[in-house]
Amino acid sequence: MRKSKRSNWTRSLRKWIERNLPMNHLFPDTMPVYVDSYVYLFGVLTIAAFVWIIISGVVLTIFGPEWWHVSPVGHFFNSLHFWSVQAFFFFMILHLWAQFWMAAWRGGRHWTWITGWLLFLVSIVTAFTGYLSQNNFDSQWIGVQGKDAMNSVGISGFFNLLNFGQMYSLHIIVLPLCVTFLIAVHVLLVRIHGVVEPIGAEEFAPDSQDVSNMTSPETKQ
């Protein structure tokens, strides 16, 4: 039987994943010893806040954009959404600053940094469309004030802040999908490249090694 020389995309993808992102890197049960600071919690807390944004946002979406203005339960879910967004940006900005001061783009991790920034920018637009979807004075004022900036760069034709239908559909479908996708890419890049090493210690070569209470890399293979 003649052997096919045609490449197999499925096998190629599987081998790429196996080589670059084996399951023990995707779901680690150990961390390098330098991962020893509360700074490392900011990223996971951002994702946790995003989970609550989605949960509260889905409930608000199910009942429609007017519900929270007339129902105490709806208003509670709006409050949940509001404070989840505040928590999301609070921890995201702390995470961003921390990664800056750690120069976390080192060791070929520039795409992790770039996707993090894209995530921040798309999140800002997502929150902005949320403010514009409120159907109250806040959205009215932000819309008429913000239109000047959009008009000045000529993009009102396809991003009209005063068009509730456009802002709402962007806010509840398109942009959350973009944020979710970018979070997935960002986290996968973190797992592929591993956690950035301390500055000046890119190779583990301490003067004195104290490896008590530690697990060697081999044990997790």
Partner: protein
């Protein structure tokens, strides 16, 4: 042969060069979700969230009828901010922003044509003709008058307006006031606004389908009325308005840099402030995104040394020279 192809060849993993400590990813994310959940539920119960209703023409007609008549008169005589705005609403230049010959606003052209006299005053009033026949002859008189005559009437009303008396929501002018049909037009306009139907009439809502685009009616009150209301709520642009929320709630504070630019020269004195701010923000953002490739800027963390605090236990424990 095939089996050999399938043998796993994992890429060398940078983190494997270091000793490891136990870690539980799933436990961490679960606890984080629970912790943030408790935090936001407590905040939502304890502090609620802001929801100040939108400003309506009905409110303005009831609380400040003079302002509504002034807004209507400005629209009718093409003196309003929108009438003078320029692209994307018309071909004027009142709010046209350009840096030299660079003007994306001009290049984009008129995308939402608005004729303020027709869209905000004459057409909404014409919908009201069957309920108030007097408006039909008033509109006809206005439309058939010369531009000079219209200007005389408008100027006279403009002078009388600050002294006008409002009774039962209607404007009362001296009997010898030479304002032509503008007295009737303004009073029927006040009536229409008080019904709460003015915005729907402006947006030409004449069917049962949902209205999802209120661009035209939202622009009607955008100048004086909205600004007065926002001023009462301390939400003006020169008061960092874009990052504020109604009430004492945190707003979009993550836009602090964008809002900061509007407070400082040369932005706060430029007629192209929005364009300059947007271009500056785009420039700064691009620098930050591509920071890993910019010598000097990418070395700031090394120079400042805050990382020594973050990894202090590692440096101390292993006597590693920190940078």
């Amino acid at each position: 042969m095939r089996i050999q192809d399938e043998i796993l060849q994992t890429r060398p993993y940078p983190n494997d060069r270091f000793p490891q400590i136990p870690y539980d990813l799933i436990r961490e994310i679960t606890l984080a979700i629970l912790g943030i959940g408790i935090l936001v539920v407590v905040l939502a119960f304890g502090l609620s969230s802001p929801d100040v209703p939108a400003l309506t023409a009905k409110q303005v007609a009831q609380q400040d009828p003079e302002l509504l008549v002034q807004t209507e008169l400005n629209a009718l005589t093409y003196q309003s901010a929108i009438a003078q705005y320029g692209p994307p609403y018309n071909n004027q230049s009142g709010s046209l922003q350009a840096l030299g010959s660079f003007s994306p606003q001009k290049w984009a052209g008129i995308q939402f044509p608005i004729d303020t006299a027709k869209d905000y005053v004459l057409h909404p009033l014409s919908l009201f003709e069957s309920m108030n026949p007097a408006i039909k002859s008033a509109i006809a008189e206005w439309e058939h008058a010369s531009a000079h005559q219209q200007q005389v009437w408008a100027t006279n009303l403009q002078k009388l307006l600050p002294h006008a008396h409002f009774s039962s929501g209607l404007m009362v002018l001296p009997s010898n006031a030479n304002v032509g049909p503008l007295g009737t037009i303004s009073n029927v306009y006040l009536e229409l606004a008080r019904t709460g139907l003015l915005e729907a009439a402006i947006d030409r809502v004449d069917g049962p389908t949902a209205v999802t685009n209120r661009t035209t009616s939202l622009l009607f009150l955008e100048n004086q009325a909205d600004t007065d209301y926002a001023s009462q709520l301390n939400m003006l642009g020169n008061e960092w308005g874009v990052i504020k929320e109604t009430g004492n709630y945190p707003g979009a504070v993550w836009l602090w840099f964008y809002s900061l630019l509007y407070q400082i020269p040369p932005y706060n004195t430029s007629s192209a402030a929005d364009l300059m701010v947007i271009l500056t923000v785009i420039g700064v953002t691009l620098i930050l995104i591509f920071l890993p490739f910019i010598p000097g800027l990418r070395d700031i963390p090394r120079w400042v040394g805050l990382y020594k605090v973050i990894w202090r236990r590692y440096y101390k424990k292993y006597s590693v020279k920190n940078g």
